[in-house]
């Protein structure tokens, strides 16, 4: 049985239906990726799972329990958290204070301050720095570390490579081997299709609010992905 299961989800911004009949299955220990163009509804889908979106209908089940109406803080305490788009650190707090906020979820587990510093050694050196003064890549490490400090069972990552240099993106993605090895199941949103296919066991492609394609990366052809990504049908060569 899957750990996280989304069925027939609609999410509205006012009268606009940003997500239409989306579905998603995440098994324990699995890493899945959601790809798609800007405005396809990827971020809206993740926000809906953690209860940060507006009006929604459909079913979101976590570990067999319906969490569709739970507030975000209760969902985080149950074990789903998110690395938000744009990092959204607590800019006036130090790196260490940012990480320690995660203790509020009161979920003991393998991810402690020491474990996060072991994963990102650079953060240990910067622990007393104000989060707002760090570089983009360092901020992304803090944002991931802060989420890990809640010891989530499911970690949602919204475009963690956005605006970062390729080398830093590579460094950060390498850390996901350690993260998944600790038992965390991961959902990645990624605009970079190659990166997504390399990191994930299963890939969904979103187009105009619904899933236009899904499958294991090795089963999907370049042409299929291109068609599903841009909505150009099967006509492409």
């Amino acid at each position: 049985m899957s750990l996280l299961s989304v069925e027939n989800l609609d999410v509205f911004y006012g009268d606009f239906r940003a997500v239409r009949g989306a579905h998603l299955e995440l098994a324990a220990g699995q890493t899945i990726a959601i790809i798609g163009a800007n405005g396809a509804g990827k971020s809206t889908l993740l926000n809906a799972i953690v209860g940060l979106s507006g009006r929604k209908s459909g079913s979101i089940r976590f570990d067999g329990r319906d969490i569709g109406r739970e507030p975000t803080d209760r969902i985080a305490r149950a074990g789903i958290t998110m690395v938000p788009e744009g990092r959204r650190l607590f800019g006036s707090l130090t790196v260490e204070d940012n990480l320690l906020v995660g203790l509020a979820a009161e979920r003991p587990g393998p991810w402690t301050l020491e474990a996060v510093y072991a994963l990102f050694p650079r953060l240990g050196e910067l622990s007393k720095m104000t989060a707002g003064s760090l570089s983009g890549g360092q901020q992304q490490m803090v944002s991931i570390g802060r989420a890990l400090m809640t010891n989530p069972r499911v970690l949602l990552c919204d475009e963690i490579s956005l605006g970062l240099a390729p080398k830093i993106i590579g460094d950060i993605y390498r850390c996901f081997e350690t993260i998944t090895a600790s038992g965390v199941s991961v959902v990645l949103i990624e605009q970079n299709v190659v990166q997504a296919c390399a990191a994930a066991d299963y890939v969904y492609c979103m187009l105009e609010g619904h899933m236009s394609l899904e499958g294991r990366p090795e089963d999907l052809s370049q042409a299929q992905i291109t068609a599903a990504y841009f909505g150009t049908g099967e006509a492409l060569p």
């Binding site: 209860g51 959204r88 707090l93 204070d97 203790l103």
Partner: protein, 292 residues
């Protein structure tokens, strides 16, 4: 010498003004909520202090402790029952709501206690004085300044050293993301409003010990609080402290020069600072000293 005394008394008064601003500024800094009812709650706290003071052992000034506890609980109730319901991007509902609370509270106080001028009796301490560098100063104003300083320092330390203080600072930075860490921002907001009300209540009781108050004093108190917060620079902690000092000193020096002026020169200083540095003293400090 007479000027030294005036300035010293201005500093004493300024400490209290800073404390009046702290409650409003803290609530705004954490929640971006402007509590228009703060002035009337300050007066309500003075009434509670008035009735509790005779029952307090050791020294009547200790009445600030039970009044602060009561105000803390009222603050939590106010946030949970009323303000949390109107949170959102639009700040107008919060202002209208607290404005309504202010009107109800003020009229309830007039109905309950009458419109007469009152003062909290602190016994002999009101008339005690001490000599410092050849000038004669009052014990009560000095004690009040020390209490204000201690509260500023205690709040600062608590925010930066405690677990809950860290959550309050994080919530102030981003109340949406903090939920992803398992924090209920509504609960944090309620605690923050409780603290803001407790600080304001202490200020209200101390003000009622130094001078007098009526159920209509709330508007004056709120005006002082606004000026302290804006002079200091919105949300700036120690900026507020020096903002209070500046207002207090200005007011007493001006009264010496022009005894009929009342709070006018304080308001003029407020406008001058607003024009020269819209970000208040903290903004000017960042610009001039830190060159940011």
């Amino acid at each position: 010498m007479i000027w030294l005394e005036t300035i010293a008394n201005g500093i004493f008064l300024g400490g209290l003004y800073a404390l009046i601003g702290l409650g409003l500024g803290f609530a705004f800094g954490v929640m971006r909520v402007v509590n228009v009812a703060q002035g009337d709650f300050i007066v309500a706290a003075a009434f509670i202090g008035l009735y509790l003071a005779p029952w307090v052992p050791i020294n009547p000034i200790l009445v600030i402790v039970p009044v602060a506890v009561i105000a803390f609980l009222i603050g939590i109730a106010l946030q949970r029952l009323l303000i949390n319901r109107v949170l959102g991007h639009d700040q107008i509902p919060q202002i209208l709501l607290t404005f309504g609370v202010a009107i109800v509270l003020r009229n309830a106080m007039v109905a309950g206690f009458g419109a007469n001028s009152q003062s909290i009796d602190v016994g002999a301490m009101r008339f005690l004085g001490f000599n410092l560098l050849g000038i004669r100063l009052g014990v009560l104003p000095a004690v009040i300044l020390v209490i204000a300083l201690l509260l500023f320092a205690a709040l600062h330390l608590w925010l930066h050293r405690s677990r809950l203080g860290r959550l309050i600072r994080a919530t102030a930075d981003d109340y949406q993301v903090v939920q992803l860490q398992g924090v209920s921002y509504r609960r944090v907001f309620a605690i923050a409003m409780g603290i803001a009300m407790a600080l304001s209540a202490v200020a209200g009781v101390l003000l009622a010990m130094r001078g007098s108050f009526t159920p209509y004093s709330g508007a004056d108190r709120l005006l002082i609080a606004f000026e302290v917060v804006v002079i200091g620079g919105l949300g700036s902690f120690w900026g507020m402290f020096f903002g209070g000092m500046l207002l207090g000193i200005t007011q007493l020096v001006a009264l010496k020069l022009d005894p009929a002026s009342g709070l006018m020169y304080g308001h003029i200083v407020f406008f001058i600072i607003l024009i020269l540095s819209p970000n208040g003293l903290a903004g000017a400090f960042r610009r001039v000293v830190l060159r940011k």
